[in-house]
Amino acid sequence: MAEVSEDAFLLASRGVARDLGAWVVGAVFDAANRAAFVLADGTLRLPDAGEWRAITAHEGGILSAAADIKDGWLTGGDDGLLMRTAPDGSTTRIADYKGKWVDHVAAHETGLRAAAVGKTVHLLGPAGPLKALAHPSSVGGIAFDTKGKRIAASHYNGASLWFVGAKEDKPRVLEWKGSHHAIAFSPDGTHVVTAMQEPALHGWRLTDGQHMRMSGYPTKTRSIAFTSKGRWLATSGAESIVLWPFFGGGPMGKAPTELAGGDEVMVTAVACHPQHEVVAAGFGDGLVLMAEIASGKVVPVAPPSGSPVSALAWSPNGAGLAFGTEAGRAGIVDLSRRS
């Protein structure tokens, strides 16, 4: 993208960016399409028109963030707290894990919250704790399925699948040797995929336990996301956006599709559009772009700022795209149709 002029980036015409001075852990839209940048310094920044509000949610650093149940944001910190920040900026302590790092958080619109603390995934309802799910080793990532019926947690030598409403908590254990981190359910709930310590992904087809190995990455994959209908799995970790086909018998025996490559800079974050087969990607130099899968057409979003993109998200209505970098640059673009 070296030859692209500044004006060609959507950020120039439709966006705004700020330097926030701390590692952007998450760019998170809540269900009402309100954005928050979640920073490692313990604050959330709400990009309102004019001044961006800064809200201190944690005493220490923030390690993880997700959209909260109906609105607002859920964050986990190295202060051991699980916090909710409401759209008005008020904060509520949801749980206190006594100084243990809250490594991963997730929430579901049906009224569920989850926090991974060491080997345990704490499941909470609107009224408080529901259950604590124990794993054989530290949890590397958590994800609810689309319906909020199951939660998957990755760990050493595989992942565990739990029914949230089960009377007796016994996980279905998906085994694969190694250390597993980021985890994702396919939108239809039939597949679970993890990113591993080695530069590879592993997947399980839940109907028959079929294993899927997806490898060939030059670096660790940190970011994985299914497209809205689940036809493609977009991944970071290579010099292009690597997309694995989850249709026509794939991804087994199929080569992945690669988009927006060629600059010898690694993709560090991916996010899939909530309706269309469009994927946004952030790169190691701070470049952000989006690409249409069918045509391969690339639209530049933000020019390189020199620091890897660490957070990237679409708003649920597909009209907003927010990104942040390790050095603390945060931006948001408005893609809604202009009348």
């Binding site: 490692a40 790092w101 530290s138 050493y156 040797k177 190694g178």
Partner: protein, 326 residues
């Protein structure tokens, strides 16, 4: 292990030692001394004493095997996770200290800094510091492979509780340590009272500093072996054939890597006016050129192995065969 980003990489000190040797005393000494430096401390959950520091992280010592076909390539998953978290808030500390449990094998900790790309990018291993109890070490060496490994891996050994032994006993303990690892620097102490600069900021894994320190004992002293772990070193004066050396060392680390705890070498390749430094922890190796040959340099290539069941004649023949003929 990259030499290019040293300025932005946070130094990490690994503190090992048997339960009761004085590890926590040393840790608290480092933290309480007025040096103006701030440390993030990673302690194991079952630590002996409280640690008074702003930034303490509990670790679980979760060791796992890498899926790279190398059975001794184990790393600390919890450390990868913790360092990842700490690095999001750089600027709060100048260094990281990782304390291990008394029974821990130091290899997975060390290997984490060679293997994980994120850890490598953000941090560098400064030194492995092992605290030992002068009174009880001889017994520990007899009954515990971990105690031997902790000495084998050490760059600096704090020989603690010297007030509890006679001078003769102290000398005997030093002899036992040197039989395992003559390259570690030994610091005698009581109550772990060693100068901070002797344990922090040592840059012991910097390739440019490999084998900088000559061991202070007779090189070919054939002492009887009190422990399974010991060391051998060889020196040759003819130039080394780079291809032959690579073939030999790769094969050796592949087949014997489990028993080779630490390997270090300085090589003079034929037709090259630069020195090549090499090091390995088990099978994981790292090497690079470390500058021009100095004026008057004797150009003697040297290799050191610290490990179990070392076959001295075989290793010697192997290294000698890497020399350029003629």
């Amino acid at each position: 292990m990259s030499e290019t980003k040293t300025e932005t990489q946070i130094p990490v000190t690994v503190l090992t030692g048997y339960l009761g040797a004085g590890k926590t005393t040393l840790l608290n000494r480092i933290l309480s001394e007025n040096h103006g430096r701030k440390f993030a401390v990673v302690i194991n959950e079952f630590g002996e004493l409280g640690v008074d520091n702003d930034l303490v992280v509990d670790a679980d010592e979760e060791v796992f095997e890498m899926n790279n076909g190398c059975i001794c390539c184990t790393v600390r998953g919890d450390l990868i996770r913790i360092i990842g978290g700490l690095m999001k808030r750089k600027g709060r500390f100048d260094g990281i200290i990782v304390e291990t449990t008394g029974l821990a094998d130091p290899a997975p900790v060390a290997q984490t800094f060679f293997v994980d790309e994120d850890v490598k990018r953000a941090t560098k291993l400064d030194a492995i510091v092992t605290v030992v109890d002068a009174k009880h070490l001889p017994a520990r060496l007899k009954d515990s492979p971990e105690a031997q490994e902790q000495i084998a891996f050490a760059d600096i050994i704090v020989l603690n509780k010297m007030d509890l032994v006679t001078p003769e006993e102290g000398d005997e303990v030093e002899r036992l340590i040197k039989a395992i690892n003559p390259y570690a620097e030994i610091r005698r102490s009581t109550k772990s009272d060693v100068p901070l600069e002797s344990v922090i900021g040592r840059d012991a894994f910097n390739l440019a500093r490999i084998l900088e320190r000559e061991p202070d004992f007779l090189e070919h002293d054939d002492h009887e072996h009190d422990s399974e772990v010991n060391s051998v070193s060889f020196e040759v004066s003819k130039p080394i054939d780079a291809e032959k050396f690579n073939a030999w060392i790769s094969q050796l680390l592949q087949t014997k890597g489990q028993d080779l705890l630490r390997t270090k070498g300085i090589l003079y390749y034929a037709g090259d006016n630069r020195r090549f430094a090499f090091q390995a922890v088990h099978m994981i190796a790292d090497g690079d050129y470390i500058g021009e040959v100095k004026e008057g340099d004797p150009r003697k290539s040297k290799i050191v192995f610290i490990g179990r069941d070392l076959n001295r004649p075989q290793l010697r023949r192997g290294f000698e065969a890497c020399q350029v003929e003629g």
